[in-house]
């Protein structure tokens, strides 16, 4: 089984005046074509930097020391030149960020921002062709009245609408891999639920692989086929979503699940913020390749 994304022994450190700070301690992570995988962890665990390395962005930060292999579609992102990496972004792989409104440019209309994305692989695309394709993409994320939205500026649209625009834009060039960093966290729960459903439908239809980065166990449970749990730069547990939720093997995963308040109301659990066994070796659930 060849994976679309195949990360091996990924390490990241930042050089500071006080010496090197290690952030990732040898991460292995793979995503097959069409698979929806979640990377779950708390703030500072290394989830977002992992996405930035996959996108080839952190490699260009001077203070960052990155090593390991980031296999993507048979090639190693780590061995590419900055130019080759830039050519992947927005075309072969794209990203959706947490806050849709602040990640869209407030000074351009939605149409213009779409055109910018769609002209990356094809610079000669005409304005009419861009508009037509953008309208089709917006239609796919269930946006009514696509003409009005295309002519609008992001601040004229609601957060939920902007999130859909972001999803449509991220998928406009039909990327093989979508990186979604806490999508919808800035939105109301009902809007978040809707947009996640939409995103799930869309990636399933397009066969897009997804790396879904989140701290929210509930959201992950609904979205992902498979889960990696990350704690302080180490993957502590990996497995199919139902298996991890039914039988969490690592002390950290168990604490994380126990700490989530339930609507069935079982009171507030007594969980430690840190514990020695959170550093136990990784637990892998069977049945995965």
């Amino acid at each position: 089984m060849t994976a679309l994304l195949d990360i091996r022994d990924l390490r990241l450190g930042f050089r500071t005046l006080a010496g090197q700070i290690d952030v990732l301690h040898g991460i292995d992570l793979a995503i097959r074509a069409g698979e929806q995988v979640a990377l779950v962890g708390e703030s500072g665990s290394g989830k977002s930097v992992t996405a930035r390395i996959i996108l080839g962005l952190l490699q260009e930060t001077r203070s960052a020391r990155v090593s390991g292999r980031v296999g993507f579609d048979g090639r190693d992102v780590m061995m590419m030149s900055p130019k080759e990496r830039a050519a992947l972004r927005g075309i072969e792989m794209s990203m959706i960020f947490q806050d849709p409104t602040s990640s869209l440019n407030p000074t351009f209309t939605i149409e213009r921002q779409f055109a910018e994305v769609m002209r990356r692989p094809d610079r000669k695309l005409t304005r009419a062709a861009c508009r037509e394709r953008a309208a089709r993409m917006l239609d796919e994320v269930s946006i009514p009245d696509t003409g009005r939205v295309l002519d609008a500026y992001p601040f004229q649209l609601s957060g939920g609408m902007n999130q859909r625009v972001m999803i449509a834009m991220a998928l406009a060039n039909n990327p093989k891999l979508l990186l979604a960093d806490e999508p919808g966290t800035a939105l109301d729960v009902s809007v978040q639920a809707q947009t996640l459903d939409l995103m799930r439908d869309l990636v399933t239809r397009h066969g897009t692989s997804v790396l879904f980065i989140s701290h929210n166990m509930g959201v992950v449970r609904e979205f992902a086929d498979r889960i990696y749990v990350i704690y302080r730069g180490r993957i502590v547990e990996e497995g199919p979503t139902p298996a991890v939720f039914a039988d969490p093997g690592h002390a950290y995963t168990r604490a994380l699940l126990k700490a989530v308040p339930r609507i069935t109301g079982r009171g507030l659990p007594d969980v430690p913020e840190v514990s020695d066994d959170f550093f136990d070796p990784m637990v892998r659930h069977g049945g995965t390749s």
């Binding site: 708390e42 729960v189 166990m217 700490a259 339930r262 609507i263 109301g265 913020e273």
Partner: protein, 265 residues
């Protein structure tokens, strides 16, 4: 005993596009010692309501009575001291240039509580009551973790010895393991000190585990109010059911309950 009574309270903002009714004819009571959760999505009026209760914002009409006395537009120091605020974002709500101790002390200085030595003692006691070492008062907020900062935010409110705390999303910026501990702390403090909470949040799972009663707001109106037990066994309003239906859940018992409540069966 009724600690706070909100009667027919409204607040309208004048905007370029005409008036916006942020809070509309809202009435409810808060009993001493209870935790009333205020839930709703963005734009529901939660924060406007909180600001009026805190006296940061005046109402357009209606009134707020505290221990039987209507609160005037310009409140006395004693009235302000009795109702304190815990904010959502512990990073942006603490002045980065002030030491932790100076931030916590602010209320004591403002209301003229105690003398110099006494204030330091009170600051240390407040920090200790939220599970932080007293000498943390010398540190800068930047040196603290998110959970520690939120504890400082709670200490800052507690140092004034309030009767009512208005908590605006106090744990939604925190990691789940940290959230669990801060929620437990808030529960313990309420029990031990006989505090009353107005707990504003959009997280119904948190509400289920901390609140005695729940008030559901939508577009500035109070659409449903009832005991937590009742809201989570038979929510009356379609909007409440929709909110519950959108909650991400982590286990099957929860999933069953959520789906049952969302369908209203």
């Amino acid at each position: 005993m009724t600690l706070l009574r909100v009667s027919d309270l409204s607040r309208t903002f004048q905007t370029a596009n005409g008036p916006v009714h942020a809070v509309r004819n809202v009435s409810f009571d808060v009993q001493r010692g209870e935790c009333l959760a205020v839930v709703g999505e963005s734009g529901s009026g939660k924060t406007t309501l909180a600001n009026m209760i805190l006296g940061i914002l005046t109402s357009s009409s209606g009134d707020i009575a505290f221990k039987g006395t209507p609160l005037p537009a310009k409140r006395t120091p004693a009235q302000r001291r009795a109702i304190q605020f815990v904010q959502q974002n512990p990073l942006s709500s603490l002045n980065p240039k002030r030491s932790v101790g100076a931030s916590v002390r602010l209320g004591l200085d403002t209301y003229g509580i105690g003398d110099r030595a006494d204030r330091t003692r009170r600051v240390e006691a407040a920090l200790e009551s939220v599970g932080l070492p007293g000498d943390m008062r010398r540190r800068a907020p930047a040196a603290l973790s998110g959970g520690q900062r939120q504890r400082v935010g709670i200490a800052r409110a507690l140092v004034c010895e309030p009767e009512l705390l208005v908590l605006d999303e106090p744990t939604s910026a925190l990691d789940v393991l940290v959230q669990a501990r801060v929620l437990r702390l808030l529960n313990d403090l309420r029990r031990d000190r006989g505090l009353t909470y107005i707990f504003i949040t959009h997280d119904l799972a948190v509400v289920r585990n901390v609140a005695d009663r729940v008030a559901v707001f939508r577009a500035g109106e109070l659409v449903e109010i009832g005991s937590t037990e009742a809201i989570f066994s038979s929510p009356d309003h379609a909007y409440t059911r929709r909110l519950i239906g959108a909650m991400p859940v982590v286990d099957d018992t929860e999933l069953d309950l959520r789906n049952r409540l969302a369908e209203g069966t």
